[in-house]
C-alpha cells in the first residue's frame, strides 16, 4: 500500500480517521489552524482534542463555478460536529439539492486527493450521508 499523508495536518489518518482541533485551555475555543493566541480570550495555551466524526449539515452551497483546476460541481458545507463547526465537502452522494439537505446527518469520510512524484498519496476528508 502506498505511503499516505493527510491533505491538512488536522486530519489524523488513524483507524478510524478523525479531525484534531487545537483547543484553548482557558476558554475551550477550537481552531483547526495554528494560532499565535486565542482570538476569543487571548490565552496562548492549546491542547489537541479529537473532533467527533458525526454531525449535521448546518449550511451548504453547491458550487458550479470555481477557479480553473477546481472540479465542479461540488458541495461545500458547514457541519456541526457535536458543537464544533467543521468546514468540509459533502461527498459520496450526488451534488444536487435533492441529495443534500439542511439538517441532514453526515459522517466523516476520507478519499485520495492525488499522488506525488514519489508515489505518496495525499488523503483528504469530506462528509458523507450517514445511513440511518
Amino acid at each position: 500500500m502506498a505511503q499516505q499523508v493527510p491533505l491538512v495536518d488536522y486530519l489524523v489518518l488513524d483507524e478510524p480517521p478523525h479531525l484534531l482541533a487545537h483547543e484553548c485551555t482557558q476558554c475551550r475555543a477550537r481552531y483547526f489552524d495554528h494560532r499565535n493566541a486565542c482570538a476569543r480570550c487571548f490565552g496562548a495555551e492549546f491542547r489537541d482534542v479529537a473532533v467527533v466524526g458525526e454531525g449535521e449539515v448546518r449550511s451548504f452551497t453547491i458550487v458550479s463555478f470555481a477557479a480553473p483546476g477546481v472540479a465542479v460541481p461540488f458541495v461545500a458545507a458547514v457541519v456541526d460536529c457535536d458543537g464544533t463547526s467543521v468546514k468540509g465537502n459533502i461527498i459520496n452522494t450526488p451534488s444536487d439539492p435533492d441529495h443534500v439537505r439542511l439538517g441532514m446527518k453526515v459522517r466523516l469520510a476520507t478519499y485520495v486527493v492525488g499522488t506525488d512524484s514519489s508515489g505518496t498519496e495525499a488523503v483528504g476528508f469530506g462528509f458523507e450521508p450517514a445511513q440511518v
Binding site: R30, S59, F60, T61, S64, F65, A76, V113, D116
Partner: protein, 405 residues
C-alpha cells in the same frame, strides 16, 4: 449640530464598463463632481481619503489611488490616506475623512472610491495553485500539501455568501431558493428606475431561477455584477457649514452616525465568516449614536452582494424581529412602495459592485432621496436613511443620514 459632520457634495459615476478610461479617470470624474456639487473648490479640501482595492490601469498598485488622483485634479499638498478595507473600502474612506474633521484637523475633506472590475471573474477564488508533480510538502497554518479550494469547502464569494443565507434558512426553518430569487426579482425591478445602474432590466422570477447557477442557491442575476465605477463625497464640519450659503445648508445631509466594526470571535467564524455579528454590532451602535430606531428609517441601502446576503441583513440591521427576515420580505415591506424600502437603487445585483466605489455610492443613493433629487425613483418625504456595506474578512460600515431640518 455644530459637532456633527455633514455631506456637502456627493456624486457617483454611472456604473458599467469603461474600456477606454482608467481608474484615475473615473475617480477624477467623481471627485470633481462632488466638489462641484458641494459648491466649493479643490483648494478648500483639507484632507483626501482614496479607496481602491484591486489596482489596475492608471495606478502603481492597489491602494495607491490618492496621489495619482491629485496629479489629475490638483496637487495641493494636503494629507492623503489611501485606504483598503475589502468591500467596505468606500465607507472606510468616508469615515477616515469624518474622523479627520472630528479631530479638528480640517473643516472640509474629500472621500473617493474607484474600481475597475469589468471582466474580473470570480472573486475570492485563489485558483488551483501548484499542480501535482513535486513531492507533497506541508505548508501554511494547516500544513496543507495541496490547494484546498474545492477540496475543503469553497473560497468563492458566491459560495461563501450562499452558505450565509442557507445557514439562516436552516436556523429559522424558512426561506430557500425561491425566496432568495424573489429578493433578486425585487432589486432588478428597482433598477429600472436608476439610470446610473449597470443593469436596468427587469427580470421575471422564472428568468432568475433558470439562469446559470453559480453557487446554489445563487444564480448569476442573484450575484453582484462586476463593473467599473467611482463615487466621491465632500464632508464639512457643522461649524463651517453654518457660515455657508442657504442653498448649501439646505442640500447638506447630516451624518447622524458613522460606525465601522470588525468581526468579533464566534464559534463557527473560523470555518464560515460570520457577517452577522459585526453588522448587528454596527447597527446597534449607529442607532444609539443617531438616536434613531429602525422603524424611523425611510429607506435602506444594504450590501446585497448576493441575494442570500440581503435576507440576513434585514435581521442584522434589526429591520425585523430576530428570525423575522423571511416574514419581512413576504410582507412586501422592502419593495419601493412598501413600509421600509430596501435597495431602491437596484442594489449591488443590478446597480453593480465596483468594490471601493460601493460604500460611497450607497450613501449617495440615500442622500439623493433625502435631498428630494431622486427623480422617478424618489421615496417621497424621505428624512432618514441607512447605508450599509460589508467587506469579507470582515469589516462593516453603517452610516445613518438625515435630511437638513
Amino acid at each position: 449640530m455644530t459637532d456633527d459632520v455633514w455631506i456637502l457634495g456627493i456624486t457617483m459615476t454611472k456604473f458599467g464598463k469603461y474600456p477606454d478610461r482608467d481608474i484615475v479617470d473615473l475617480a477624477a470624474e467623481a471627485a470633481r463632481g462632488a466638489i462641484a456639487d458641494a459648491g466649493i473648490g479643490m483648494s478648500d479640501i483639507g484632507v483626501l481619503a482614496a479607496g481602491n482595492y484591486m489596482g489596475g490601469d492608471g495606478l502603481l498598485g492597489p491602494g495607491r489611488l490618492g496621489q495619482a488622483l491629485q496629479k489629475q485634479i490638483g496637487q495641493t499638498g494636503v494629507p492623503v490616506y489611501n485606504v483598503m478595507n475589502a468591500c467596505a473600502t468606500g465607507a472606510t474612506a468616508l469615515r477616515t475623512v469624518l474622523m479627520a474633521i472630528k479631530a479638528g484637523e480640517t473643516d472640509i475633506g474629500l472621500a473617493v472610491g474607484a474600481e475597475k472590475l469589468s471582466g474580473a471573474g470570480l472573486l475570492g477564488s485563489g485558483g488551483a495553485g501548484k499542480a501535482d508533480g513535486a513531492e507533497f510538502t506541508p505548508s501554511g497554518r494547516v500544513g496543507q500539501v495541496a490547494p484546498l479550494d474545492g477540496r475543503i469547502g469553497t473560497e468563492t464569494m458566491p459560495g461563501v455568501f450562499a452558505q450565509v443565507g442557507m445557514e439562516y434558512t436552516h436556523r429559522y426553518g424558512k426561506g430557500g431558493f425561491e425566496l432568495f430569487a424573489r429578493i433578486s426579482e425585487k432589486n432588478h425591478a428597482h433598477s429600472t428606475l436608476n439610470p446610473l445602474a449597470a443593469y436596468t432590466k427587469r427580470l421575471t422570477l422564472d428568468q432568475i431561477m433558470n439562469d446559470v447557477m453559480v453557487a446554489y442557491p445563487n444564480t448569476r442575476p442573484m450575484c453582484s455584477a462586476n463593473c467599473d465605477g467611482a463615487s466621491a463625497a465632500v464632508l464639512v464640519s457643522g461649524e463651517r457649514l453654518k457660515r455657508m450659503d442657504p442653498d448649501q445648508r439646505r442640500r447638506a445631509v447630516k451624518i447622524s452616525a458613522s460606525v465601522l466594526t470588525s468581526d468579533p470571535w464566534t464559534e463557527a467564524c473560523q470555518v464560515l465568516p460570520d457577517i452577522n455579528t459585526l453588522t448587528r454590532n454596527a447597527a446597534e451602535q449607529a442607532y444609539t449614536a443617531a438616536g434613531v430606531a429602525p422603524e424611523d428609517l425611510d429607506l435602506v441601502e444594504l450590501h446585497d452582494c448576493f441575494a442570500t446576503a440581503e435576507l440576513v441583513h434585514y435581521d442584522n440591521l434589526m429591520l425585523c424581529e430576530p428570525g423575522g427576515a423571511v416574514d419581512l420580505f413576504e410582507s412586501g415591506a422592502t419593495w419601493r412602495d412598501g413600509r421600509l424600502p430596501v435597495n431602491v437603487s437596484g442594489g449591488l445585483q443590478s446597480k453593480g459592485h465596483p468594490i471601493a466605489a460601493t460604500g460611497i455610492a450607497n450613501v449617495w443613493e440615500v442622500c439623493h432621496h433625502l435631498r428630494g433629487e431622486a427623480g422617478d425613483r424618489q421615496i417621497d418625504g424621505a428624512r432618514v436613511g441607512l447605508a450599509h456595506v460589508i467587506g469579507l474578512g470582515s469589516a462593516c460600515g453603517v452610516h445613518i443620514l438625515e435630511r437638513a431640518a
